[in-house]
């Protein structure tokens, strides 16, 4: 399974940084899929089919990892040998912890009140927060190369992603 060790940025021919050219990512993803997708190897040998399956799988995994800012940040840290979601990495600034609890409470209240507009409002708020953290991350990773601070910011982003997923699910269950 040598393809699994591939550096995802190299796979797509992109520089290893937080700010990425999403169009190049998309175009190169499609090129790799065009060359490796199992549909291209239906009557090939077992080996070639296996290679195709592995490459197409890796490309899908890599694409979804780099497309999403939170997982992209997490992956960039992994390349630096930092596990952003390790249990030891629990320190969060006090004000973010407070903010976190507030969002959770809002989510639970809106869920209990079956208030879909409130949930959507909260989602918008979180997305705005996410945008501003992404701007920070671009500076921390690409200019300052300040990985400890990037780890903190990435953890915030991962947390916001999680709350968004929960809001998403709450709306779905209310409908």
């Amino acid at each position: 399974m040598q393809t699994v060790q591939t550096n995802y940025f190299q796979l797509f021919g992109l520089p290893e940084q937080f700010e990425i050219d999403t169009q190049s990512l998309e175009v190169n993803f499609r090129k790799i899929q065009s060359a490796s997708h199992p549909d291209r190897f239906v009557s090939a040998t077992a080996d070639e089919r296996l290679q195709s399956m592995q490459m197409a799988t890796t490309a899908n995994e890599a694409y979804s990892m780099l497309k999403n800012p939170a997982t992209r940040a997490k992956y960039l840290l992994e390349l630096q040998g930092i596990n952003a979601i390790a249990d030891t990495n629990t320190a969060m600034p006090m004000n973010f912890l407070m903010q976190q609890m507030e969002w959770r409470e809002q989510l639970e209240d809106a869920k209990a009140a079956k208030d879909i507009p409130a949930l959507e409002q909260l989602m918008t708020e979180l997305q705005a927060e996410s945008k501003s953290i992404q701007a920070d991350l671009a500076k921390l990773f690409d200019t300052k190369k300040d990985y400890p601070s990037a780890t903190d910011a990435a953890r915030k982003l991962i947390f916001i992603d999680k709350v968004c997923a929960d809001i998403h699910q709450a709306i779905e269950q209310l409908e």
Partner: protein, 631 residues
């Protein structure tokens, strides 16, 4: 017209040969088969000029099996032995069927005590599984195609509802196997429709495919760009379709009849089928008319004579229309899109002819839906295009389909909770691994329960398989590291493997035996479906071994010519000597030895295949394509 040359299935044909491949839409109400001829996708007709084959199978008193219009004509007189809408039962157990009382079949639960076993139907030809009944429909379509095309099929693409779960997909593939069809790919119906629509209209942009068939509802959102069809999200309801509208009308008629007659006896199986047929006809009539008259005489002499108006139909079925909008909203949210960015909404499936349904779709998307392709045929036409490409025929449109898994896949953890391993709407193929650990000290086995669905509790999801990983060395609780890998292939089928990391003890399962048919059952059905004289197992095995030997020799030889420079001379010589050995063995009668030599050659080319794949990806990335620069 010159005779077309047909190679044996699985054999790689010379480049100029056209390989016969078809797309099959195995529908709830009707089924179709289409193929690409002279670069045009065309639906194949039967001798009477019918394109649609009613998905109706009748087991005759003389032992024959009749499929299609002839069977449909007898459904009210012989309802118990005439199976309609069998697709609703694919990959299902008796527990899954909620409206048993209104279906005129004699259901029998699967053999095993476990309630998850696939259901069976008692007919005069014996117990039949939905897989076998579907295989009869597929056999008829295969025969139609081979007659019309004048040769044996290399394979077929068979469409399934996007929202079909693993058990339903596997059941469809099993049915094809029993019908003697080589499945090139299972393709999601809305994706097939998108291919037909997109290529026909040179469409680019973001499209919604709203597909309401006889028994299933799918909605898919796709991005179409330069021949790439990328599914962004899919959702649906695999138990909602045109049949439910018929059923509503049927219930409404019964209520009317009960109002006017004081002692109304329960309906016979014949009457149930008759009234359901009348209900369907009324629904179709109301597409273009204001009022439908439902008239028939029941077996007890009661005369049914009621009128149903279009507004009444809207009233009694509006909740079903609304029910399709919930999955639609979910798909839009999963794709993270708002309705303003949708470039078009394509309607698929006969049920989308209903005016009130069209209005509801139009109201939701704030644009008029696209209906310029026949909603009954578009799925088969799209499947044929993919089949043509997969069979290796030269294609003007270099298309690539990137589909997704419709439902999340996970494992049961402590407390009956689901840990999702693969999330819905992940692009296929996909592999994901998750590590688990032991709960008790000295625990040596772990029970792995694979489920599919979105809910948090195992009991709310569909159970796909259970298997055990044994032989874990006794360790303290939490010390073992068990890595469970889920793999979903391009057909949307799941396989799961588990491995204890420190010892390497491994267990693997194609998710199948605990749901659906076992390998033995399929073999029995296969045997039963061939005439005993026709099949000499040994001869067939030898023929198959030779075909696969021929295929691998020609493909490896071709690869060496093109990419031989990617490996060292020593590696090259090793491969060449394996080819020679295999060539010599092909002349013998020893199927096992040929198989082993094929495996050996496969093994010898592993590194070469990997090097070729990497080279081909690098070529794809560095290839300067002017169009792509502007994208």
């Amino acid at each position: 017209m010159a005779l077309l040359q047909i190679s044996e299935p699985g054999m790689s044909a010379a480049p100029h040969q056209h390989r016969l491949a078809v797309g099959i839409d195995l529908g709830t109400t009707n089924s179709l088969v289409a193929t690409v001829r002279s670069s045009m996708s065309t639906v194949l007709q039967d001798d009477h000029g019918h394109s649609l084959l009613p998905s109706v199978v009748r087991y005759m008193p003389n032992g024959d099996v009749v499929v299609g219009h002839e069977a449909q004509a007898q459904q009210s007189t012989d309802p118990v032995n005439t199976i309609v809408s069998v697709k609703r039962f694919m990959g299902r157990s008796l527990n899954d069927i909620t409206d048993k009382a209104h279906i005129p079949y004699r259901f029998v639960d699967g053999k095993d005590a476990e309630a998850t076993r696939t259901l069976q139907i008692q007919t005069r030809a014996g117990l039949k599984t939905p897989v076998e009944i579907s295989a009869e429909i597929l056999k008829t379509l295969k025969a139609r195609a081979e007659k019309s095309l004048g040769g044996e099929l290399v394979g077929a693409v068979i469409t399934v509802p996007a929202y079909f779960d693993d058990a339903q997909r596997q059941a469809t593939k099993d049915a094809a196997r029993i019908a003697g069809i080589n499945v090139l790919r299972l393709l999601n119906e809305p994706t097939a429709a998108a291919v037909a629509y997109g290529l026909d209209n040179a469409a680019e942009g973001t499209f919604v495919i709203y597909d309401l068939g006889g028994g299933t509802f799918d909605v898919s959102i796709l991005r179409l760009s330069k021949g790439v069809f990328e599914v962004l999200a899919t959702n649906g309801d695999s138990a909602l379709g045109g049949d439910d509208f018929d059923h509503r009308i049927y219930c409404w008629v019964l209520d009317k009849v009960r109002e006017s007659s004081t002692n109304f006896a329960p309906l016979s199986e014949e009457d149930t089928r008759l009234l359901l047929t009348k209900a369907r006809q009324a629904k179709e009539w109301l597409t273009d008319n204001f009022e439908a008259q439902i008239v028939c005489r029941l077996s007890n002499g009661t005369l049914v004579d009621v009128a149903l108006t279009a507004p009444q139909l809207v009233e009694i079925t509006q909740h079903l229309v609304t029910k399709t909008l919930t999955p639609t909203r979910k798909a839009m949210r999963d794709a993270n899109l708002s309705i303003e960015v949708i470039d078009g909404v394509v309607l698929v499936g006969g049920a989308t002819r209903m005016p009130h349904l069209r209005h509801a779709v139009q109201d939701y998307f704030k644009q008029e839906p696209l209906t310029n392709l026949d909603p009954d045929k578009v799925v088969a036409l799209g499947a044929a295009i993919q089949a043509n490409m997969l069979a290796g025929n030269k294609n003007d449109d270099d298309l690539l389909l990137l589909d997704v898994t419709p439902l999340s896949l996970g494992l049961e953890t402590m407390g009956g909770l689901v840990e999702k391993v693969i999330h819905r709407n992940s692009t296929l193929p996909i592999a994901r691994a998750q590590e688990f650990t032991t709960y008790k000290d000295g625990q040596t086995a772990m029970s792995i329960h694979v489920v599919q669905g979105e809910r948090e509790l195992v009991s709310d999801c569909r159970s796909l398989a259970r298997f055990e990983l044994r032989g874990i060395p006794p360790m303290a609780a939490g010390a073992a590291r068990i890595r469970v890998t889920f793999t979903v292939d391009a057909d949307g089928l799941l396989s799961v493997s588990a491995r204890e990391q420190s010892t390497g003890i491994e267990s693997h399962i194609a998710v199948k035996p605990s749901y659906g048919l076992s390998e033995d059952e399929i073999t029995d059905m296969l045997k039963a479906s061939f005439n005993s004289a026709e099949i000499d197992k040994k001869a067939r095995m030898l023929a198959e071994a030779r075909v696969s030997a021929g295929a691998i020799i020609s493909s490896v030889t071709a690869a060496l010519t093109v990419d031989g420079n990617l490996i060292s001379d020593a590696e090259k010589q090793l491969i060449e000597s394996e080819i020679q050995r295999l060539q010599l063995l092909t002349a013998t009668e020893d199927a096992t030895a040929i198989h082993n030599a094929v495996d050996a050659l496969n093994h010898a080319t592993e590194a070469f295949a990997a090097a070729r794949m990497n080279a081909s990806v690098s070529r794809a990335l560095s290839g300067k394509n002017l169009e792509d620069i502007h994208l």
